[in-house]
Symmetry: C2
Subunit: 255 residues, 2 copies
C-alpha cells in the first residue's frame, strides 16, 4: 500500500511540522517522541493511505500534495468528504472516534506525508490542557469548512459550485484578471463537488458562457474576478471575499 | 424576537441540563453560575433565535422542539446546515469561531430552550482540561454527523435521501413493520435534504413505488424496514443499521 517508508532525517521537513499550532501545543517530551517515531511516506496518485473501518494507529502531516478523504458505496461510487493539502493533518482526531478510520484516504496527486503514532497524540490530549485546546481550534476550522460545503451543496447550482471552486483558487483577489492552475485533476474536482463527469462538463460550459472564465487543460483564466464572484456568490450566504475562506489557514498554501 | 424570557425555576428542566456530559465536565462554580443565569425561552414555529454575523453572547440547550440552523442567500433561498433537537446544545462552540453566530437559527416547531451565557462556557473550557475534553467529544460527534450528511448529498439520489431520513426515524429497528410520525414539516425536511418542494414530491413518489413506504400527512408507514434499507443503503458506504447513527446520542430522543 505504501510506496516508501523512511525515517525522517531531513531537518527542513520536521521544521514545517514543528511550526504547526498543534505541535506547538504538545508537551515537549511528546513532541520529541513523535519526531523520533516519524516516518516519511511518498505516495503516487491514487495510492491508498488507509481504509475505512480499519483500526487507526497513525495520523499524518501533509508535506506536499493532496490527500482525498472519501467513502465508497458497495457499487464503487465515491463521495469525497474532504480534500486535504500541504500543512494539513490527516486523521488527527480518530482517537475521539472509536479509534477507527471513519473514511478511506488516498493520494490525489504525488504526495509526501509524515506518518506519526496516534497513541502519542491521544496521550498528549488527555494529559495536556493546552493540547486539548489546540485540538478544539483545529476542529472548529474543519467544522466551518464542512458547514460551508454543506451550504454550497444545498444552495448553489452546479455552475456556481464550479465557479466557487475556481474563485477560491484566486486567493481572495478583489478584482481584475487572474490566471491559475487547477490544484488537481478535473474528475476529482467533479467528485469533490458532488457531480458526475457529464454534469461537470455541462455545468462548466454554462459557467464559461455566463462569466467568460476560460479553462484549458489545467490552466484557468479568469478575465474579471468580480464578474465570477457576482455569478457565484448569488447562491451563497456570504459576500465575496468570504471571511471563512480568508480565515482558513490551509488557503495560504493554495492561494 | 423572543416570545418569553423567564427565569428557570423548574427543577425538572435544570435536571435534564445538569445530566448532560458537557455539564458534568464543568467546574462546579461555573455550572452553578450557569444555572443561576439560565433563562427559559419559548418559541413558536419560525420564531428567530439568532442571526448570522451577530455577536454571540449566548448558547442554548433544547428542552423540547427543534431548532434549524440555516443560512440564507441575498435572494432569500435557505440552506439548512443542521437541525438540532431535544438534548442538543446550540452554538456552544461560538467562542472558538470569532464570537459571532456563523449561521441563523429559528424554531422549526414550538420549542423550549434554556439560554446560557457563552462567556461562562468559554471560561470553563480555558480553565478546565476536563471541560475542553468534553467539548472535543461533542465536536467529534457533530463532525461525524456533518460528514455523513455530506456523503449522502454527494452519493444518494433524492428518493434515497428521503428514504434515509425515514429510516433514521425507525430508531435502528432491524426488520418488520414500523409506523412513525414525521418530527417536523415536509417542507423543512425537503430543505434539510437540499431539495426544492417539487423535487421532494417527485422523489417521494419514486420512493413509495420502490419500497411501498406510505406517507399520509405526517404519518409514515414502513411495511418492511429491511426493504427500505436495501433501497437506501445501496447509495451509502455504511450497511444498515449504520454505526454512526446508533452511536449518536441525539437519536435517543427521535427514536
Amino acid at each position: 500500500m505504501l510506496n516508501i517508508l523512511q525515517d525522517v532525517k531531513c531537518a527542513s521537513t520536521t521544521q514545517t511540522l514543528i511550526k504547526t499550532d498543534l505541535f506547538n501545543a504538545l508537551p515537549s517530551d511528546i513532541s520529541a517522541s513523535l519526531i523520533s517515531a516519524a516516518k516519511n511516506i511518498f505516495l503516487n496518485k491514487n495510492d491508498a493511505l488507509f481504509l475505512q473501518h480499519d483500526s487507526a494507529r497513525w495520523f499524518y502531516f501533509i508535506v506536499s500534495g493532496w490527500v482525498k478523504i472519501y467513502r465508497e458505496t458497495q457499487d464503487g461510487e465515491e463521495a469525497v468528504i474532504e480534500l486535504l493539502g500541504e500543512g494539513d493533518f490527516v486523521n488527527e482526531s480518530s482517537f475521539l472516534e472509536d479509534n477507527h478510520y471513519t473514511s478511506n484516504a488516498a493520494a490525489a496527486e504525488k504526495t509526501h506525508l509524515i506518518r506519526l503514532p496516534i497513541a502519542l497524540l491521544e496521550e498528549a490530549t488527555k494529559r495536556s490542557h493546552k493540547t486539548a485546546l489546540a485540538m478544539l481550534s483545529a476542529f472548529a476550522i474543519k467544522r466551518q469548512r464542512q458547514a460551508q460545503e454543506l451550504e454550497g451543496l444545498k444552495l448553489q447550482n452546479a455552475p456556481q459550485r464550479i465557479g466557487c471552486f475556481l474563485l477560491r483558487q484566486c486567493g481572495g483577489k478583489l478584482n481584475g484578471t487572474h490566471s491559475v492552475s487547477l490544484p488537481y485533476g478535473k474528475s476529482l474536482i467533479a467528485t469533490q463537488l458532488g457531480m458526475k463527469g457529464e454534469t461537470f462538463s455541462r455545468a462548466l460550459k454554462k459557467l464559461k458562457a455566463a462569466t467568460h472564465v476560460d479553462v484549458q487543460g489545467s490552466k484557468v483564466h479568469v478575465p474579471e474576478v468580480l464578474e465570477l464572484a457576482d455569478f457565484v456568490c448569488a447562491g451563497c450566504s456570504n459576500e465575496y471575499p468570504c471571511k471563512e475562506f480568508l480565515l482558513d489557514p490551509r488557503q495560504k498554501s493554495s492561494a
